[in-house]
């Protein structure tokens, strides 16, 4: 979040406004009692669009500070296109109000195509960068950094000219960008972003907002961030996935009625597509992962049955590392021990140990389908029959 990003910026030597992190309206009031002038109170959330949503407000003095804080905390962030669920607001940042003359944008991220860090600068700061890239793509200047060389100040100079930044930025910009690159590199971040990078009327260049996206896979190198990350709000689907012992990327719900599960992300996506192609709507994406044992399969069964409105469940397994007999055992155990509702299963089981798996299923009175398409068709048919209103 912003306050954590700014803490990292401060450590890296990037100028940031004076600020105080606050949890309650009272914290805000106490702080604003002790300082003079107008300050900015900002909701601390991950999603963008805070200004538009009325979650960034000015306040002066304790009384107004409390009122503004209460107002911001009263409702969660409203949903938008990227975050259809919105986001709860758990804390606030009270910050010095900068006398802003200009706002620019700069960020460093990883470019997949060139396999290099890319530094991006635009003279349009303070707005959604996606909008800028749609409306003024030519305004975004880019530099692809050779990792063997790293950052050198000429990159900042070149970009400041290429992006046509206000001359007021020029002196301080290369050093700020250098500090930002150090931070990006030292913490193995996926993205560092300053939007806006403010130029004040008195000639200071200050990071008015801070965004640092860490790489989950690199958290082992920075244990302190693991705590930050744990404090981040996982969404419902991610929470459910973690509880079922899956990776947080392995489960996602949609609004259809056909539950799906496959081993491997690519096959799981293709399974969803197959259901869709068969005229159905999927209830979820679920990658049970490689080498799934009976217990994991059982957890996945419960996950779909208890947390989606699925009225049929298509299990599509192509055994590689995953063994068909383990999966079959998991399915049979799940059905035998579950106390949850039961929905019709359509199982496709092929690859490693498929004969043994089929035998286990047959002993339990289940006959797997032969192909993925057949499974998708059957599951859609059953789901639609089950979901049809009775009056029809």
């Amino acid at each position: 979040m912003e306050y954590q990003g700014k803490e990292l910026f401060r450590r890296a030597g990037i100028p940031v406004p004076q600020s105080r992190h606050a949890i309650t309206p009272r914290d805000v009031a106490d702080f604003l009692e002790s300082v003079a002038g107008q300050w900015v109170v900002k909701a601390q959330v991950l999603m963008g669009g805070r200004g538009k949503a009325g979650k960034i407000k000015f306040a002066e003095g304790g009384r107004q500070g409390r009122a503004v804080a209460e107002d911001i905390l009263a409702t969660p962030m409203p949903p938008n296109r990227q975050n259809p669920a919105g986001e709860p607001i758990k804390s606030l940042l009270v910050e010095e109000k900068l006398p802003i003359a200009k706002e620019a944008y700069c960020a460093i991220t990883i470019d997949r195509a060139t396999k290099k860090p890319v530094v991006m600068v635009s003279r349009f700061g303070g707005m959604d960068i996606e909008e800028v890239s749609e409306n003024h793509p030519e305004s975004i200047a880019k530099f692809f950094v050779d990792t063997a060389i790293g950052y050198s100040p000429f990159i900042g100079r070149e970009l400041a000219f290429a992006a046509d930044l206000d001359p007021g930025y020029r002196k301080q910009f290369p050093a700020i960008l250098g500090a930002l690159y150090d931070l990006f590199f030292r913490y193995g971040a996926k993205l560092v972003e300053i939007n806006p990078l403010a130029l004040t009327v008195d000639g200071r260049v200050v990071a008015s907002d801070a965004k640092v996206e860490l790489d989950d896979d690199a958290l082992f190198r920075n244990p302190e961030f693991a705590q930050w990350q744990q404090a981040l709000p996982l969404d419902e689907d991610e929470k459910l996935a973690a509880e079922a012992g899956l990776g947080i990327r392995n489960f996602r719900r949609f609004d259809g009625n056909v539950g799906t599960m496959a081993n491997g992300a690519g096959l799981a996506m293709a399974t969803m597509d197959a259901v869709n192609f068969a005229g159905g709507k999927v209830a979820n994406f679920l990658d049970v992962g490689g080498g799934a044992n009976a217990e994991r399969v059982r957890n996945c069964y419960e996950l779909v049955v208890n947390h989606t409105p699925a009225t049929a469940f298509f299990i599509n397994i192509f055994g590689g590392i995953t063994r068909g007999d383990e999966v079959a055992r998991g399915i049979v155990e799940a059905l035998a021990t579950t106390t949850s509702r039961k929905i019709p299963l359509v199982i496709r089981l092929t690859g490693t140990n498929e004969e043994e798996g089929r035998r286990i299923l047959a002993d339990a009175g289940m006959t797997p389908v032969e192909t993925m398409d057949e499974g998708a068709n059957r599951a859609v048919e059953i789901a639609n029959r089950a979901t049809e209103p009775v009056s029809k």
Partner: protein
């Protein structure tokens, strides 16, 4: 000839005494791969269950065996180091199976190991059917033939290959390039190799949402492979924006990386796109007859 891997490739396994490493070593040996040994620091001088020599360092292994290829099964924090060690010892091709390697580590490795071909990370490896397999692919679904296959996914590859094999289309080489945002070998890298491979007469590309590797492949095909029968599949047509589905690289941001954009790019390059994996063999058959 196949690409990247053939009968003469001498393969070592880094992490050969670990659970994954030893299990898959066994499978690779049984497939007929020329596994010449493995590396586990501190266990040099021992032999594996299959009687393969274990070395302390990759350099020792290369010196003793003349290894050209390596298959890496070490945990994520050590994967970059393992790749650098392979590079330093003169390995020509490294397959990194490890999932969860920090993206900056991958950047550093791919940016500073010129001349070494890296497949992955987070990939199932590659196989030249009838010759050798390096990685974790189930050998029995593959069959030797003239179709080259490139895929970002593991199990989906098996699904597609199974369909090809049943329809009578054998494969020259199948490469699982991996599902991470940054990978050592892209679709275009593979296309370039297939283009020069005498055994390969047709190509199947299994893409998925996220990134622009499919669009780049389509542009390359338009330019260099317009006469080659190629069929594509793009997984994740029904994926929502902003959320990774399983693979870290399978994410749509804004209008970037959507299935629609990839499908359009392939079609514009004259590459038919299968709506379901099961349609691939028929589409390929059609392309083959129309080109012939």
């Amino acid at each position: 000839m196949s690409i990247f891997l053939d009968k003469n490739s001498k393969v070592i396994v880094q992490g050969i005494t670990g659970a994954e490493g030893s299990y898959h070593t066994d499978r690779m040996v049984r497939y007929g791969t020329d596994i010449v040994g493995g590396v586990t620091p501190g266990k040099g001088g021992q032999k594996t269950a299959q009687g393969l020599p274990v070395f302390d360092t990759v350099r020792d292994a290369v010196d003793a065996t003349g290894a050209t290829h390596t298959c890496i099964f070490v945990p994520p924090p050590f994967a970059a180091d393992a790749l650098f060690e392979a590079y330093d010892a003169g390995i020509a091709l490294a397959v990194c199976i490890t999932e969860g390697v920090p993206v900056h580590d991958v950047l550093k490795v791919v940016g500073s190991t010129p001349g070494m071909r890296i497949i992955g990370p987070n990939c199932p490896g590659l196989i030249s059917p009838g010759k050798a397999s390096v990685g974790i692919m189930p050998g029995h679904v593959f069959k030797e033939g003239d179709v080259g296959l490139i895929s970002r996914s593991g199990t989906l590859t098996y699904e597609v290959v199974d369909g090809l094999t049943r329809a009578g289309f054998g494969q020259s080489t199948c490469v699982g390039i991996g599902g991470d945002p940054i990978i050592g070998t892209t679709f275009v890298d593979c296309l370039r190799e297939f283009q020069n491979d005498a055994q390969t007469n047709a190509i199947v590309i299994c893409g998925e949402i996220g990134g622009s590797d499919e669009e780049d492949a389509a542009a390359y095909i338009r330019e260099h492979l317009a006469q080659t029968p190629i069929v594509a599949f793009v997984g994740g047509r029904n994926a929502p924006p902003g959320k990774s589905l399983g693979h870290a690289g399978a994410i749509i941001s804004g209008n970037f990386g959507t299935a629609q954009s990839k499908i359009a790019a392939f079609k514009a390059a004259g590459v038919p796109v299968a709506e379901r994996p099961s349609e691939i063999p028929a589409l390929l058959g059609k392309r083959l007859t129309s080109v012939a």
